[in-house]
Subunit: 424 residues, 2 copies
């Protein structure tokens, strides 16, 4: 390793040590103090509009020079409105009920021991993300609300923007008497920094959260020497059941696929109950095609709608993130559930039906983080769940599942109060 490598490693280890101190300060801070910090962070972001937008202009110029354009470039862009939305988002988190210190369970044992399960912070979280600069503010806000120190490692393509936002965040922390070590940002685009974080920074990192494309998440899951809260793809289904209200079916399928095709909550496969396929598939296909969606059907769907492209086996497990939808005809709830178990990613799946028993059977059978009855899969979002903001949608089953907000970034301890009890 060259001198620069040694020095980066030393810097990163020092950052981990500082984060432990920051975590302790946040853990012992009161809810009011953390709320004050969040409010001050929002205020500082607004005050720093000029330097943040100037830094973003530098990122955008560099991105254009690197050949970025279209939606990719748009994701990097900040303007007055987006900056205001970012500050307002931090204020929403400031207004959330504080998750810490709450006893989620409490009981007394026959020997008189009083046992309380109390929410506590996890400790030090390392957040590794790509592109959108607002993640810097969202992640910092959720971590402060949940009492966790965070090490932010944003994408190199918006490094200047992230560092400018981070400077405002630090001013907010200090205004509330909290140390800068509570929210740190990696100041270099050197990708070796990610390797050091994945190695755990000398055991200083309690949890690593990757947010970005498949290759980033895969690398983190393969290399991390600390627990990872992964969020993988959303291979989401809308199942139109025999007892579906046709109008709701069309509106939900259309919204689930087409509202925004690039989000993880968008639908990728439409399942239609064989009992009503003849009648409903034409309505569904008509609405989707008119909205600009390409359909790829299985053999049974093609019989009803011969204009569709034929779906290949790979279509059932492809997250298009584009105006394309695969369509399969299935036999009832059991058929839909079997298709979802085989091809789904355990993210978000919906049923459209007026039959309450079928709805509950679907909800019981489908083992996904979010199961919706008569609602669009695009509701798979922390904000829509009322979490204020989200770190991502977890598709792992351990610890957190679905939208990850402040409460999901906590753990707990047992506080046992006795009067001198010893164990026989």
């Amino acid at each position: 390793m060259d001198d620069a490598g040694v020095s980066l490693q030393a810097k990163m280890i020092a950052m981990g040590e500082a984060a432990r101190a920051g975590a302790r300060a946040l853990r012992l801070a009161s809810a009011e103090q953390r709320t004050t910090a969040l409010q001050a962070m929002a205020k500082a972001i607004r005050e720093d509009a000029a330097p943040i937008l100037a830094a973003n202009a530098r990122d955008i110029a560099q991105a254009k020079a690197n050949g970025l354009s279209g939606p990719m470039l748009d994701r990097l862009l900040l303007d007055e409105a987006r900056l205001e939305a970012m500050a307002a988002g931090v204020e929403v988190v400031a207004a959330l009920a504080d998750p810490l210190g709450v006893a989620t369970a409490r009981w007394t044992r026959p020997n008189g021991l009083d046992i309380a399960r109390v929410r506590t912070p996890i400790g030090v979280i390392a957040m590794i993300y790509e592109s959108r600069p607002n993640v810097t503010a969202d992640a910092a806000a959720l971590c402060v609300r949940s009492g966790n120190a965070v090490i932010l490692r944003g994408g190199s393509e918006c490094l200047a923007s992230s560092l400018a936002i981070h400077a405002a965040i630090v001013r907010g922390l200090k205004a509330a008497g909290l140390p800068a070590s509570a929210v740190q940002a990696v100041g270099t685009a050197d990708r070796a920094a990610v390797g050091h974080i994945l190695a755990g920074l000398n055991r200083a990192v309690d949890l690593i959260i990757p947010r970005g494309g498949k290759s980033l998440v895969a690398r983190v899951q393969a290399e991390a020497r600390a627990p990872v809260l992964g969020h993988l793809e959303g291979l989401n289904h809308v199942f139109v059941h025999a007892a579906a209200d046709p109008r709701k079916a069309v509106e939900i399928a259309l919204n689930a696929k087409m509202r925004r095709v690039s989000v993880c909550g968008s639908a990728e496969t439409l399942l239609v109950d064989r009992a009503v396929a003849d009648r409903l598939l034409p309505l569904l296909a008509d609405a989707l095609i008119k909205a600009g969606c390409e359909l790829r059907g299985d053999a049974a769907a093609l019989v009803i709608e011969p204009t569709m492209k034929k779906a290949q086996e790979a279509d059932w497990s492809t997250e298009y993130l584009a105006p394309i939808l695969s369509v399969a005809v299935v036999d009832g709830v059991a058929g839909a559930a079997a298709h979802i178990a085989r091809y789904g990613s355990g993210h978000t799946d919906a049923i459209v039906t007026e039959d309450a028993a079928a709805a509950e059977a679907f909800a019981a059978e489908v083992d996904s983080a979010i199961v919706l009855i008569n609602a669009s899969t695009q509701f798979a979002d922390g904000g829509e769940f009322g979490f204020g903001a989200e770190i991502g949608i977890a598709t792992d089953k351990l610890h957190a599942r679905g939208p990850v907000g402040a409460e999901q970034l906590t753990t707990f301890k047992y506080v046992v109060r006795g009067t001198g009890q010893t164990r026989p």
Copy 2:
């Protein structure tokens, strides 16, 4: 890989596939059906007393031939009383409130969406453990209660006992109409089987739980390609605060160290507040030494009790699991918390004090899975918490922390009920 290797791998992969089917059956079974299975399992264990004890006699003979003796041999031993305790333990789990299907939170959004967070099983759990044959019954019972299929890989030294117990468990499952794939046991002592489990059995394993010595847990954490619920050592402290009741301090310190020295809830370090060390340390030392405990003190402790051995730096981070206790004099709650943060393992720590404010400060400051006020660290046990049985004490912070019972072996899904909502 030789033929036997290929065939073991194929067998293990098939076991993983079967476990997925078993998990589905358990997930869809009613609480009553799983309760019936647990009751039938307990009955079958009692009915099979003769073959189980005969199998255990073979394990014991082999262990003696391998040179095992004393407590190591005793851990393997089953007799009528231990077998009855095992069956009774399964009945306690049968009587536990079913954790599944419970909505742990439910709220309605302004758009009318009704969101419920509902407990569900994790899926397939692989349990890798050593020595004590009762773990086979405990783990199977907790997994059935929590709706998880389990693959049991017990230690080779009690393989015959475990397989005999497993045969009874399978009869219990079948009596309730549940498939044998819900609880499977690896039938070979070949250590390569562990490697296949750690590789994840073709993504069939959702969670790996190691229970055993440091080297087993370390191997699992290093090699596992699936999430691990680790339970590491208990480097536990008893802090005698300035406002401690002397009688409680002596009783708690004595019980925490000496009740059973080989359990993970035993105390390894005694911290005494400088303000009362002159007065209380002699009382504490006297009781502990009389009970057969060796004390190793820091400089300040040695001034008060010159007969102690001098503690070395390594003593503060050694889990003795023996009648040895390190003793340090510290300055108040802050001093105790600093010592615990530096040397503790985040397992279980206790304060003895009559000062409520000091007790709450200690509970807030010490970041361990279990913090006790005026009670012995030996209460760190799922049974003592009222969980019926335990898989172990988790020292990780993610997902579960502290005693792992049936409820801790669940995850959740969000069930969102709408009336046709689409997202604007």
